[in-house]
């Protein structure tokens, strides 16, 4: 009785599937996160609708999945439950975790040799560092960012500095910072020199110090870290000294959320934060501001950040082909330009910057170019196997040094030892 009913039911569903199949050859589900709000969600939905309208054989459902971490949780839970989306935008740093969970496949198998050259090799190499490992491409850069330095030109002029020149190196940042730090009659600070937010995930902006110092935090296989490299120690000591020794930055860990507001309120004269805030600052800063690359030490340098497209394993080849075609379309120069202008994310391909729309945008708002130019010096955001655990270990070390509980050397030695323990099975 039961099996028979089941058979009938499955035959019925097969025929109905076939009927649907003739109307829509391929159905795709696509999760996307929104990190900064605003135009991102509507833009992504509009682009998807445009693609579907132009490609009647494909139906794509774009599903808003919350913040980056929510989207990561949802995609992995769905994949573990056997019903993953075919496609998802997730943090570029989750690559090793997704490989380890065996839920994604590389894009290479679904593109021709020619497309490999023209498409995959057409992205900025610094974005690809977080997208490729072991010679395979697991991520396609999409909503990518990098941190930059914003400065208040009026505060610079008031302090007797050239309002059009940002600090070019570490020493200058301290020197400018000292001039910019203002105190009231009772000795309390009313304006800090610089603000580098460190709450929650200090590692990201810290890479804006460790990279210029000449260190790379993790290898490209994602199984070895260099947390106690002398150059990393030097970078952390510099960060701690900004508050402890030079008194140009608020002591303790600094929140991300109120950072733009602190800048608008004149609470700080310089701030480090993501290019994702560019549109926000442009709209809300009540003064003239400038945007510059992060200051240099031995070299210039910064991390990249943000999200990549991932292709999930548990789907048919037709679905994968269609998904890759969609990703190719949405990262093509014209669409990337639309996306970048609407959101402030850095267009991930040099050819996108050659489009008329991008050229007009950059001419109207030159700070947008700073992030692009910094890409030449940018490196991968810290990412390893067991990424959550390893990154948290590193975050804890940075936080304890910033709080003055441990010396930079001691904190980083411990973090390296812990990371070695965690990553041992992956070597």
């Amino acid at each position: 009785m039961f099996p028979k009913m089941f058979k009938i039911a499955s035959v019925a569903s097969l025929t109905s599937l076939a009927a649907v199949g003739s109307a829509f050859a391929v159905d795709l589900e696509f999760y996307f996160p929104v990190a900064v709000g605003g135009a991102a969600a509507t833009t992504i939905e509009k682009l998807t609708a445009d693609y579907v309208a132009a490609n009647p054989g494909v139906n794509i459902e774009a599903i808003y999945a919350g913040s980056y971490s929510d989207a990561g949780v949802k995609a992995l839970t769905a994949a573990r439950g056997g019903k993953p989306p075919q496609l998802s935008v997730l943090l570029s740093t989750q690559m090793f975790t997704l490989i380890d969970e065996d839920v994604i496949v590389p894009f290479d198998d679904f593109v021709s040799a020619e497309e490999q050259e023209s498409w995959i090799n057409g992205f900025y190499p610094s974005f690809m560092e977080n997208s490729q490992t072991g010679g395979k491409t697991y991520g396609i850069p999409f909503q990518r960012s990098t941190p930059v330095l914003y400065w208040n030109k009026e505060a610079f002029a008031e302090a007797g500095l050239n309002p059009d020149a940002a600090p070019a190196n570490w020493d200058e940042m301290v020197e400018f910072g000292k001039k910019l730090t203002k105190k009231d009659s009772s000795g309390n600070v009313t304006q800090w020199g610089v603000r580098i937010p460190s709450a929650g995930f200090p590692y990201w902006l810290f890479q804006g110090l460790s990279t210029p110092a000449g260190a790379i935090l993790a290898n490209s296989d994602g199984n070895k870290t260099n947390f106690n490299d002398p150059k990393v120690v030097e970078a952390l000591e510099y960060l701690v000294d900004l508050s402890a020794k030079h008194g140009v930055m608020q002591p303790g860990s600094i929140e991300w959320g109120p950072t733009p507001k602190a800048f608008f309120e004149g609470e700080t004269a310089m701030m480090w934060t993501t290019t994702g805030n560019l549109v926000n600052v442009r709209t809300n800063a009540p003064f003239d501001f400038g945007v510059a690359m992060l200051p240099a030490k031995e070299r210039r340098g910064a991390p990249t950040g943000g999200g990549n497209f991932y292709l999930f394993k548990d789907s048919t080849d037709e679905q994968k082909d269609a998904a890759v075609d969609f990703v190719q379309w949405i990262t093509s120069p014209e669409q990337a330009a639309v996306w970048s202008i609407a959101t402030g994310y850095v267009a991930p391909r040099p050819d996108a910057w050659e489009t008329d729309a991008m050229k007009a945008y950059a001419a109207d708002f030159p700070p947008a170019l700073v992030a692009r130019d910094q890409l030449e010096f940018a490196v991968a955001e810290l990412s390893t196997y067991e990424n959550g655990k390893v990154t948290q270990t590193f975050n804890d070390a940075l936080a304890s040094a910033i709080a003055g509980e441990k010396s930079a050397q001691e904190a980083l030695d411990q973090a390296q030892a812990a990371a070695d323990r965690i990553l041992k099975p992956y070597r």
Partner: protein, 293 residues
């Protein structure tokens, strides 16, 4: 006779079954499954989950972060439970009096309960912000320097405790207020005829009659001291260096940031054990001191 007994049995089971099915599906089965999972390793990709005995518990004993969050949670409980109860009782006594704007006061005290914790955490974030945050602006008037409340390991946990107390006290107040209104006014009249002062009346009459409510509220306060962690996600993410991390927050981190679900299950077992012990203890010991009518 026998037939009617059987009928009663069926009747009883039918009445019990809806609640039981839900409790078993969503409470008892997951709890048992959690205990089982804690003896297995986390499955990763092609590596299947295998039985590893007490390994997760050995890891737990050696896990510094676990001990830190446990100590944090202890202090969180020690401060939030009594303070929120005392505060709620004081507020209830205050708004139980006949005074002008009583309705407005009651509403004001209850507002924190109605607001979602995530939303108010965002507001508190700006209260605590060093420099231009509300608290620092007030301190600034008196010439105090700015203080990084959430960014310093010494104050981060206490900043979180203050938010939790603020959030909880209004909720508990409602229970005390309801209980106060069930106390017959004749008792107060009798007490005043006998010449009992206000404080004496409270200590010997009102407070003993409120004991069932106090028990209920304290059980809730204990559970909340483990459960109320939403604001930590918004405000500190457990930082700096786990100074404001609590057990439940750490469990979430292990399960959904580190994806180490087996270890998260082990941590959950610890939390279950603590909560069960405390709840049983509370009913067992306090029940003797509670007067139900």
């Amino acid at each position: 006779m026998r037939n009617s007994t059987r009928h009663q049995w069926i009747y009883a089971w039918l009445l019990l079954s809806p609640a039981m099915i839900f409790l078993i599906t969503f409470t008892h089965y997951p709890a048992v499954q959690t205990v089982i999972s804690s003896f297995f390793s986390t499955a990763r990709g092609r590596r299947k989950s295998v039985f590893i005995g007490w390994d997760n518990y050995t890891t737990l004993m050696a896990d510094e972060v676990f001990w830190k969050v446990l100590v944090n949670n202890f202090w969180y409980a020690v401060w939030t439970i009594p303070l929120s109860i005392i505060l709620s009782l004081a507020m209830a006594l205050w708004v139980n009096e006949k005074l002008r704007g009583r309705g407005f006061l009651r509403m004001a005290y209850f507002t924190p309960t109605v607001l979602p914790l995530i939303a108010v955490a965002n507001i508190w974030l700006f209260f605590y912000t060093p420099g231009f945050g509300l608290i620092d602006q007030i301190r600034g008037v008196f010439g105090y320097p700015e203080q990084n409340w959430m960014g310093s390991p010494d104050t981060a946990l206490y900043s979180m405790i203050a938010v939790a107390i603020w959030k909880e006290a209004g909720f508990f107040m409602i229970f005390y207020l309801a209980a106060l209104q069930t106390i017959p006014p004749s008792l107060r009249e009798a007490a005043s005829i006998e010449g009992a002062g206000k404080f004496y009346y409270f200590r010997r009459v009102a407070f003993p009659l409120l004991m069932p409510t106090t028990l209920f509220v304290s059980v809730n306060a204990v559970i909340n001291s483990f459960r109320l962690v939403d604001h930590i996600f918004v405000m500190t993410e457990g930082g700096p260096n786990n100074a404001s991390s609590l057990l439940l927050f750490y469990i979430y981190e292990v399960a959904f940031d580190y994806w180490d679900t087996a270890y998260a299950a082990t941590l959950t077992v610890v939390m279950l054990a603590i909560l069960t012990t405390v709840a049983i203890g509370q009913f067992f010991f306090l029940d003797k001191k509670v007067h139900y009518k």
